[in-house]
Amino acid sequence: MVSLTTKPMTQATTQPGSSAGRTLHPALGTTARVLGRRAFQAAGVVVLVSTACFAMVQSLPGDIAFRIAAGRYGYDQVTAASADSVRAELGLDQPAWLQFLDWLGGLVSLNLGNSLVTGASVAGELGLNLASSLQLAAVALILALMVGTTAGALAAARPGGILDRLTTVWVSVTRALPPFLLGLVLILLFAVHLGVLPAAGHGEAKNIVLPAATLAVGLSGLFARVTRDTMAQIRQSDYVRFADTKGLGSWLVFVRHVIRNTGVTLIAYVGVQVLVLIEGVVVVESLFAWPGLGHALVHAIFWRDIPMIQAAALALALLVVAMNTLVDLATAAVDPRPRHKEAVL
């Protein structure tokens, strides 16, 4: 799970020799540095992940040619003859490192190659999977953020009040329910009995509501928890009490100070949750027949479709880097303090 130990930096009274009064918004300086560092990291990740991934796939048991033939011809029409023709066609008996070099060569010219099973271009297929996964993650995230932060804020308004205890119960219940069970309950309720929403499938807008809701329930618990803790802490902070005594009125204080500072902590948290979402939705995708990245990865590994595995792993890895960059930039934009404690993922 994620334990977030970022605390707003408390200033020692004697700030050793800081160059005072810089008017230029510090974020502009940091943006260039953040982008530079992340670009370097992305390049490193590309090489590291593809090598590690290729090594892992090679160590998988079972003959790759047979697996691909099963993927192509269907699971009960795969024969030794078809496997041999696949091995010859794809040159699978080449040494592993040669195949890897071919793949890397293709990568340099931005051609991810074709899927061994379907023959279609990996980029195309992966594009659809990535798009639908991101779409599902985005909708789930927005739903969770809306419900979670509102509940968290209301709970933090009265620490120890009924709403606060209610949120704590809601958090533990949502965290304890396995996602596929929650999905089944939602389908039974909304699709079968009420017939309001489609049970599974992809295509129209209505299809996204149930899978996104399944993900959002668990996630909203997490967000409520983080929002409540951070806001309760910020409400006790010196700058909120000073703002009060300036005669601002609680609504202005809430909007101008509490929300902004809570945002600083939330942003890092949301960044992490998006990654967990995209990787962890395999179950929800298979239950709702959603053509997501996790689902595609499971099939690719089952059929040993190497280019697809490599591309999917690469996409996920670059997503991790992109998400970290986004979080860094957003944090720098909201919180000008130079060195922020490293948010422990």
Partner: protein, 285 residues
């Protein structure tokens, strides 16, 4: 003006009332209830398999038999005793998750302390390794390892541990870095107090509460990960019972034999709620 200062003036530090033993003193009600729940489950996991040994014994003529005298939880679609399978499954899930969490925790913490303490090339190597694991999608690592495991328990356990060690590593490295750079350790250095003292007095007491919190979460998420593998169909090999697999098998019978699905779900949810409740109030989310 700050509340803290005002309060400090009022209440000089109290040493905690001596009535209740020290470890009970500062445990909230929810923590006690959760600990109770978990204790019941552990007893069930240990005693259950002894009371109902035959989890693989089938009686196809009595498939989906309702709970009755002989079978408190009835029989599943293969006529096997659901309570026996549940007991073995709970035992397996708990043992597996505890094992893989302790492996992840041990390796992660040792690596973290080594990186923070030695610094230099060890730190960059270990940090680089953790960056790779962070970048490598955890999903891929678990899927690949469970494909290699092909149902074998120990390799599955290794896979889950591999996916989790990075969390412990990063936390321990960051937190020990802070402690080791702090004045307390500097002062200890001036007293020529060696590494044993630093670890025993400075690092462990600081890391222990955080590690226990992360560990309780780790056990919960490992059980969920194991059950997800079962759901996607690459989990443990038949006839080994596992909570996730039982829920997946019971999935189609939710209408016909609800008890078959309810039992594992109840156990799984109780374990997770118990673990969540154990977390002390002020530790992070």
């Amino acid at each position: 003006m700050t509340n803290a200062v005002a309060m400090q003036e009022l209440l000089p530090a109290s040493a905690g009332d001596s009535k209740r033993p020290k470890w009970l003193a500062n445990r909230s009600a929810t923590q006690l209830v959760s600990a109770g729940l978990l204790a019941v489950l552990v007893i069930f996991a240990v005693a259950g398999p002894l009371i109902w040994p035959g989890h693989a014994v089938q009686d196809l003529s009595r498939f989906l038999e309702a709970p009755g005298a002989g079978e408190p939880l009835g029989r599943d679609h293969l006529g096997r005793s659901v309570i026996a399978r549940l007991a073995h499954a709970t035992q397996l899930s708990l043992v597996m998750s505890v094992l893989c969490v302790s492996a992840a925790l041990l390796f992660g913490s040792l690596a973290g302390i080594a990186a923070a303490w030695r610094g230099g090339w060890i730190d960059s190597v270990l940090h680089g390794l953790s960056e790779v694991f962070i970048a490598l999608p955890a999903l891929l690592v678990v899927l690949v390892v469970s494909a290699i495991a092909n149902g074998d328990l120990w390799t599955l356990c290794l896979g889950l541990a591999l996916a989790q060690w990075v969390e412990y590593f990063r936390m321990v490295r960051a937190r020990s870095g802070l402690v080791l750079a702090g004045p307390a350790v500097e002062a200890a250095g001036l007293f020529q107090l060696g590494p044993v003292h630093v670890i025993r007095r400075h690092l462990l007491p600081e890391l222990r509460p955080l590690l226990t919190t992360m560990a309780t979460f780790g056990v919960g998420s490992s059980i969920l990960a194991l059950s997800t593998l079962g759901f996607v169909g690459i989990g443990v090999r038949p006839p080994t019972p596992e909570l996730g697999l039982m829920i997946t098998e019971a999935f189609p019978f939710y209408h016909e034999a609800p008890w078959m699905a309810l039992a594992p779900v109840l156990v799984l949810t109780t374990i997770l709620i118990g673990l969540l409740g154990l977390r002390s109030k002020e530790s992070p989310a």
